[in-house]
Symmetry: none
């Protein structure tokens, strides 16, 4: 039997519209993947009476109610209290949670404020769910064929708890609900409508899996979603459609699911035993930071020079004063000299130079905001690429870093 | 009298978590600004029975129900039908809407598909709201002291209709509802419960403005929300409480509303006419990238060295081989030498050194993942700080970058 779930997200900041609700779509996706039906989502503030009514309504129309938020140590954190009230269970002090929270503070050489004890109060008979990402344990309370699950509000805590604890609990408790599996094919370097054109046969024929195109920060993702009795069957259905579209998308495909461009670059560097260094101007270290998001990147990333000033471009990267004077700091020549300079100075196989105008200031008549040059140097000699990005400063930085990673990958594949 | 609003967003893609709900926070913000209280937000799919129940529940607890979505031409677009059902009004073909939709297609040299006529069906007695951004008119249906307002789902249509039609209708219909104004005080360097402890008098006495504490990526935000007849009065109420808590929070307060730590650092550097350079190891350029997110940062940020390898620490930052061998790359001595080295080499007023173990690899018996040293050097000589962060690689990088920005600010304020 298909279980019906209602998600209740709590918090005044959600009600006021001050933050975007990412917990509800996250939970909805995850629950659907394991075959549970989310039919309602409700948001309510930190108000006892209203939260109580919302929970009662939810229990009247769903089998499982999952809440997020309101498990913190403050007086405004009332979700467990209201859960206990609605299910008619007294609250008690859960000793293992007390020690766990005390340990959390002790580890950080801090003393636990008394109000953190609120986080150890639990409805009688509840299953306490540990939280490796914060101080608030989660709670599962079962009663009369209904279940209320309280999860913490901060997304990284909620996500951890769902994936590592709640999902297994639900699957064990209710058996298989069938599966919905998605696979995301990540592409870069092609627009959404051009990509759609390339796979239009598969889109027109789609049934199971379904096909969705999603634009995500300069990347276009193809999401294939299959429903089946089990994971193997779902994966087989996805694999069939994937191999049909592969010839058309292969030049743009750099990873699947959570694989990022920086992962892809790191894998190639590692497998080819090559090292890399970057010289960044307009991105201010962002491209290097992305590369160092990958565990183990110290094996191939030696270092980088963020050369915001011309003096540093000259002194640390050997960009000649003549190039800087005649072509300017934002030019193909400077980007190329930066790539070659950082490669030589840091003694790496690959050198990268990035220079541009992130704005809003700094533009001239012939060099507008968004003008960017990216150069890659290696054993096949330097290559450079010019872009004219649009957007705000941070968007231009992000797009430039992504384009740089793409061209590094391309260069590496050509070796 | 304060009107209570419930927002109902409809659509299967929202229920499945495939798209983020931006309509609910948009409407919540706009409604709060003009003094209406949004107390509930509900999301439901394109299902007649469930949408009917959700609307009935909403009418039982709110004065005004605003829906988004389900006004399109397809069989799945049922919001108006359900509205008519719940309010017991028959639907009729609204001739002006028929011509308007026909015109919309004619202008684009397209013929109107028959199913677009569904968009001209209206509940009897409804006020039809024109839509300059699409084909679906909005609908206001008043009945028995309750009002249901149906808005289209696409955000640019919904936003246009709210700002240009609905807001004026609500203000005219209900007179001024006063204003709700929020101010956010951003703090760093203190935990949520310790901060609560420091302002507990104000929290216990709170009434108008209300006080909420929010944990945001290592920062704790204090949100003061005041309701008043006008903006000046609301700001006065906020100012009163703010000045009462100021002595306790001043050491941690770095900005208000959207001001970030990097903004705060940039402002001080600019006003004191100082320059800065960073030497980053475990953060991989992230702290520098944050500083360069601020427009105009090239005025004070000269550049940075990302020194992932020991060789670069030695060659570009003058960290002695002896320190690296005896104390290790992750040590107070190395961080301090990096700060002094980058300051000297790049010729800036302030130098910053960051070294640590971001994990998951790289830990030793006495140096665990999360161990971080941050040093700041300037005219008052070097200072260093040790942290033991928890979390995944990216979290540790983020927390370290934030801590570095905090200590830079602190050092600058001491000059």
């Amino acid at each position: 039997m298909k279980m019906i779930v209602e998600i209740i997200t709590t918090g005044t900041e959600l009600l006021l519209g001050q933050i975007i609700n990412t917990n509800a779509p996250y939970l909805a996706q995850k629950l659907n993947e394991i075959g549970f039906s989310v039919l309602y989502q409700t948001t309510v503030g930190d108000n006892r009476e209203r939260m109580r009514n919302v929970m009662k309504t939810a229990l009247s129309r769903a089998d499982i109610v999952i809440t997020s938020g309101g498990l913190g140590p403050t007086q405004g954190d009332i979700t467990k209290e209201v859960t206990a009230l609605v299910l008619d269970r007294p609250l008690f002090l859960h000793e293992p949670s007390v020690s766990r929270i005390q340990n959390y503070f002790a580890k950080r050489h801090m003393t636990m404020p008394d109000n953190n004890l609120r986080q150890a109060m639990m409805p009688k008979g509840a299953i306490v769910v540990d939280n490796e990402r914060g101080t608030a344990p989660g709670v599962i309370t079962e009663a009369d064929n209904k279940i209320i699950i309280n999860l913490p509000g901060p997304p990284h805590e909620l996500n951890w708890m769902f994936e590592n604890r709640i999902q297994a609990y639900l699957q064990e408790r209710f058996g298989s609900q069938g599966v919905i599996i998605s696979k995301v094919l990540r592409t870069y370097g092609i627009g959404e409508s051009s990509l759609e054109e390339k796979i239009k046969d598969q889109i027109l024929e789609q049934n199971n899996p379904t096909i969705a195109l999603l634009a995500r920060e300069g990347e276009i993702h193809i999401r294939l979603t299959a429903k089946a009795g089990n994971t193997e069957e779902a994966n087989r259905l996805i694999g069939e459609v994937e191999s049909k579209m592969m010839p058309a998308i292969a030049p743009y495909l750099f990873g699947v699911n959570d694989e990022t461009l920086e992962n892809a670059v790191g894998q190639i560097l590692q497998s080819k035993k090559l090292t890399i260094a970057l010289a960044e101007s307009c991105t201010g270290g962002l491209a290097t930071s992305r590369l160092t998001d990958v565990p183990g990147s110290s094996a191939y990333l030696m270092g980088s020079i963020v050369s915001y000033s011309n003096e540093i471009k000259n002194k640390f990267l050997d960009v000649s004063e003549q190039i800087l004077a005649s072509q300017g700091a934002v030019s193909a020549e400077t980007a190329t000299a930066m790539a070659c300079g950082v490669r030589k100075r840091l003694g790496t196989h690959i050198g990268v130079g990035i220079t541009g105008i992130a704005g809003p200031g700094g533009a001239t008549a012939d060099k507008p905001v968004g003008l960017v040059f990216i150069a890659v140097d290696g054993s096949r000699g330097p290559r450079y690429f010019q872009y004219n990005f649009t957007g705000q400063r941070k968007e231009i930085k992000n797009r430039t870093a992504k384009a740089a990673l793409f061209h590094i990958r391309e260069y590496l594949l050509s070796l």
